[in-house]
Symmetry: C2
Subunit: 327 residues, 2 copies
């Protein structure tokens, strides 16, 4: 494979943003920032055999997800994703057509958000494919949906539903067997093609104050991060956790709690805000048809995260999260 | 190794930039851009066994170079490097202390340029360590030291000296044997700890127009990129190429041409500018004690890169560059 020829094939033919002064094709990219905004930037890596298995995901799906997980981080900061750069380490077990599919998968989700590929690096490696994506976005100045923003008396909320992605992974790995084809397809799709909650993040960042995380490592782990950063206790009502119709239909046959709390990769948003802002948030999300659910409250009388069942006293919820394909 | 504990160890204890609103510790970093500047961003990956060999470089040196090569890309755009993010894929053959050394090597060169680590990702992999660094910097609006800026009649220049890094690599690999300890040490140091030419890049970007590349893949390859992007021919006088005293002392005993043109990783800057701007550039560099040398000229009568020896007609200089440790 010729590196220059490959780069030419994956370089976007049109640029979406007039602010891009130099995209792919020089030593670095140059763009003009919105002078009224702050810049938001994150990087995430996916490794073959750790974050994905080649026989279970298509290259297109791998690319889609590699960019999606980064967009989700921007969403958790209340930002708008704009640009991305891709560094890819390629073993000779991957064909050029598969690599182009990875970039096409990224291009699909990028186009949903009007994002542009502006740079990258293509190198060889001996064994596992590694894809590292950097995403840059913008957010209004002084908007800070940080983990450390939770306060006593806050409402704890989550967008969408939780547990689907982890259920989908267990189905893929053969750890959970299911006959219903449409439920199976839905759950696997939720694992392979997560939807970053950019619109929800924008709404949440518009209220007076909110703490926020995206659910990458598992709901329990994300709640612990908020509790620790904010030095508060978080009380969760298990029966309030929003689950999909599909998960609801199979919940008698499996350990749904594990998927909901420790599965991870739902890429929904979890956070807290004051009771007054929560009323505003519910209304704004409702107007945009975004599902958002109250699942608990914040108390500074405790530290840590507690699970309350049937309104009984809470039990500590341990935080160990998602460990990908590791034993 | 505990990921959270490790991140805590490598997180800078003080932040250099008041513009960093959120560094490591949330879903993404947030910084305030200079509203008068454009943003410059690049990403480069170094893979164990391809870009470095563990038995020939210390972890500290690997970290130093991983960041240096990215700073060099910002320098080639005339920019000032400000922030960096590090994604690292770690096999279990690496100890935590070695990983901390990688970050300390990066921290050393970062401190030279007053740069801050603002984010990253730490994941596991099965075989080779992969380190991907993203660097963000700023440059004045409308400054464009692009490859495509060369024009007929331009002077071709290069900063510093060329060939040292490649000579150092050949010594490290045992392909070239040298007895003189101080020359040996100098050349290896030039390979392991390249100095990005940020100050020179700033000066070059201050003249009216200049094309510019950093020498990562080899001087011949970089010249070809400028010639192709600008659709011009470049004529190089081989005897004008600046070499170090050290290389000069051993040039009778080795193929110095190969090192100068195809070695790569000198991380000097090569470019072109008008004869008028060249006089200004020479003066400005001289004032700052930066070595800059005229090595040829641009002609639109030709396409490609030509090497002239003793003022005779030029021969085409082929472009194949540096292929790291590949056969």
């Amino acid at each position: 494979m010729d590196e220059f020829d490959f780069i030419n094939k994956i370089t976007p033919k049109k640029r979406n943003h007039p602010n891009i002064k130099m995209g792919i094709g020089d030593d670095a990219a140059i763009y003009r920032p919105d002078s009224e905004k702050d810049q938001v930037v994150c990087v995430d890596t996916m490794v073959e055999g750790v974050h994905f298995l080649k026989h279970l995901s298509t290259p297109y799906e791998i690319g889609y997800k590699a960019l999606a997980v980064n967009i989700s981080d921007i969403a958790a900061m209340g930002g708008v994703p704009l640009y991305y750069l891709v560094a890819i380490s390629i073993p000779n077990t991957w064909k050029e057509s598969e690599l182009i599919d990875i970039f096409q998968g990224m291009n699909e989700i990028a186009s949903h958000y009007n994002m542009s590929l502006i740079g990258g690096d293509t190198v060889s490696t001996s064994k596992d494919l590694v894809v590292t994506v950097t995403v840059i976005g913008e957010v209004e100045q002084n908007v800070r949906t940080l983990r450390s923003e939770a306060e006593d008396g806050d409402i704890v909320f989550v967008t969408g539903t939780v547990g689907d992605s982890s259920a989908g992974l267990d189905i893929l790995l053969g750890k959970y067997v299911i006959d219903d084809a449409s439920i199976k397809e839905y759950l696997i799709e939720r694992h392979k093609r997560p939807t970053p909650q950019v619109k929800a993040g924008r709404i949440i960042s518009s209220v007076k104050r909110a703490s926020l995380n995206d659910i990458s490592d598992g709901l329990a782990s994300e709640l612990h991060e908020i509790a620790e950063s904010s030095r508060v206790g978080i009380m969760i009502n298990e029966e309030d956790l929003p689950i999909s119709q599909e998960l609801s239909q199979i919940k008698q046959t499996c350990d749904i709690t594990k998927w909901m709390f420790y599965g991870g990769e739902d890429f929904e948003l979890v956070g807290t805000t004051s009771p007054e802002s929560w009323e505003q948030l519910k209304r704004l999300c409702n107007e945009q048809s975004i599902k958002i659910t109250k699942i608990g409250y914040v108390s500074k009388k405790y530290t840590g995260v507690f699970l309350m069942k049937n309104d009984k006293d809470g039990e500590p919820l341990h935080k160990s999260g998602f460990n990908h394909f590791k034993k």
